[in-house]
């Protein structure tokens, strides 16, 4: 992460208000810049506005004020090289695992044969080579999220937006999935914005941790530790304490 290079994603004075003007804003004048290939975690309690911010970056929700730029261009809608992984159940239940990944690949402009090849490759990458024919309803929660990651990667996006993708998984599967995501990310570098409410998850994954509270950014921490990170590394634990205290 170098401050000199032009940022990949720029969030400029973004505010968001749902309903009428009397309601409290969900986001207030948020500024943020993410460098190319940077892994940024948005961390905060439920209702702090982190998911809304992610949806605005994705172009799914328009900001009330301010703008988001990707490569210097204002975001006006979803798609265009921004892959997204949702918390859960966003796979198309009527398509097989392979069909879901193929759907993404076809959307990136590949023909049927090419999409099939990409789908096989990506299912292999997320360790689901033998599960391509299964429907999402026949897969475990962890497997479903692997398929969702593969589907987002099939778009070959430059940016990967992840909305608490492991939030519904049990702790052990969640740790596996974090390692898996880092492995995938190391082989396919992307700019990642990852929303989580787990401090430990943010510490394990992010280059930078953006702590949000009350609709604005409360603090930004550089992690600066080599991956894979040990969860008992004293430096990591110190940062954990700092973040924890900052949240109160």
């Amino acid at each position: 992460m170098s401050a000199s290079a032009a940022p990949k994603i720029e969030v400029l004075r973004v505010s968001k208000q749902f309903g009428d003007a009397a309601a409290a804003p969900v986001l207030r004048d948020v500024d943020l810049a993410c460098a190319e290939n940077e892994f940024v975690c948005l961390l905060g309690r439920s209702g702090c506005g982190k998911t809304t911010l992610l949806n605005i970056i994705a172009g799914l929700v328009p900001p009330t004020a301010g703008e988001v730029r990707v490569d210097g261009e204002v975001v006006t809608g979803p798609g265009r090289g921004k892959g997204m992984v949702f918390q859960q159940n966003a796979l198309f239940p009527w398509l097989s695992a392979r069909g879901n990944v193929e759907f993404g690949a076809r959307r990136s402009g590949l023909d049927k044969a090419g999409a099939g090849r990409v789908a096989d490759e990506l299912l292999d990458l997320v360790g689901l080579r033998d599960y391509g024919a299964r429907y999402p309803g026949e897969l475990s929660g962890g497997m479903q999220q692997r398929v969702a990651i593969a589907r987002a990667l099939a778009l070959d996006p430059q940016i990967l937006l992840m909305d608490e993708p492991f939030g519904a998984l049990d702790e052990i599967t969640r740790l596996d999935m974090q390692a898996e995501l880092l492995r995938v990310w190391s082989s396919r570098r992307k700019t990642v914005v990852f929303v989580t409410h787990s401090i430990m998850e943010a510490l394990a994954l992010g280059d930078r941790i953006v702590v949000m509270g009350g609709g604005s950014i409360a603090a930004i921490h550089d992690v600066g530790l080599e991956r894979p990170r040990s969860r008992s590394d004293p430096a990591l634990l110190r940062l954990h304490d700092t973040i924890w205290q900052g949240l109160h």
């Binding site: 799914l60 892959g83 966003a90 239940p93 959307r107 429907y135 999402p136 309803g137 778009l155």
Partner: protein, 266 residues
């Protein structure tokens, strides 16, 4: 004791209970405790079934004719309703304005008991086949229409969002996302509609016709042949069960992913 053994015991108990009820019924009839006209014993009913299959009731109109006539009426009305309700429902479900515009009318039309239209339909179209088909079509249509609309309207928004993050154009979101996501609901609508058609036909056939199972059970009563009435009721029951099983099999066949989902969630 395992779950299979428990189920086994339950089936045995149930079957034993039914067999003893039938035996008791036969016995009570033989001893003169039950009037055979009101409660024809199982042996009489079996004779009635035989007669219905061989000679027919009324004479010459055999059970196959009654069954086929009823089936034909249900299916023609049902098919008519599907043809009209599916495209219309897709159209209305896509447009919030159309939905708001039509909602009260649809709600009211659904509340009108289908058979209450019988006198009107007879005045308009006589007592022939057209009246029965239209009546069944009416009953099936509104059930189907509201299910198709709901299916399109209540598609899980996260699926649409996911498609939008993959640059899917609006037209394809409808054909590739909304339509398949609505299918289970549409299927449920078809199943309910068939049930409605099944209910309506019995009532419709009781008036102004001698063919069809509804007519059969009513005619048989008029001629003091309650054994034949009960055979007709049993046939209607079997038909209902076969319909339900058929729709289930069709759904498993056409929507294999949906069954998988419900099994995992259970």
């Amino acid at each position: 004791m395992g779950a299979a053994a428990t189920r086994h015991a339950a089936v045995l108990q149930g079957a034993g209970f039914i067999v003893s009820l039938l035996l008791l019924w036969e016995l009570a009839s033989a001893l003169g405790w039950l009037r055979p006209h009101s409660f024809p014993p199982p042996s009489r009913i079996a004779q009635g079934a035989w007669e219905l299959a061989v000679r027919g009731f009324p004479e010459g109109v055999r059970v196959w004719t009654h069954t086929l006539v009823t089936l034909r009426r249900i299916f023609s009305g049902f098919a008519l309703a599907m043809l009209a309700a599916i495209p219309l429902g897709l159209l209305i479900g896509r447009s919030p304005t159309l939905d708001a515009l039509t909602n009260p009318v649809i709600t009211f039309a659904r509340s009108v008991a289908t058979l209450s239209l019988l006198p009107l339909v007879i005045v308009w179209f006589g007592t022939g086949e057209l009246s029965k088909t239209l009546l069944i079509a009416y009953g099936c249509f509104w059930v189907m229409l509201s299910n198709v609309i709901a299916g399109v309207k209540y598609v899980d928004p996260v699926l649409v969002r996911a498609a939008r993050t993959m640059d899917t154009p609006g037209r394809e979101i409808f054909t590739h996302i909304v339509l398949p996501a609505a299918l289970p609901r549409i299927f449920a609508g078809a199943r309910t509609a068939l049930g409605v058609g099944f209910m309506v036909i019995v009532g419709a056939e009781m008036i102004g016709t001698i063919e069809g199972l509804g007519a059969l059970i009513m005619e048989a009563r008029t001629f003091y042949r309650t054994d034949v009435t009960i055979v007709g009721m049993m046939l209607l029951g079997v038909m209902g069960v076969l319909f339900a099983l058929g729709m289930e099999a069709l759904e498993r066949r056409l929507l294999p992913w949906h069954r998988g989902l419900s099994e995992v969630r259970r």
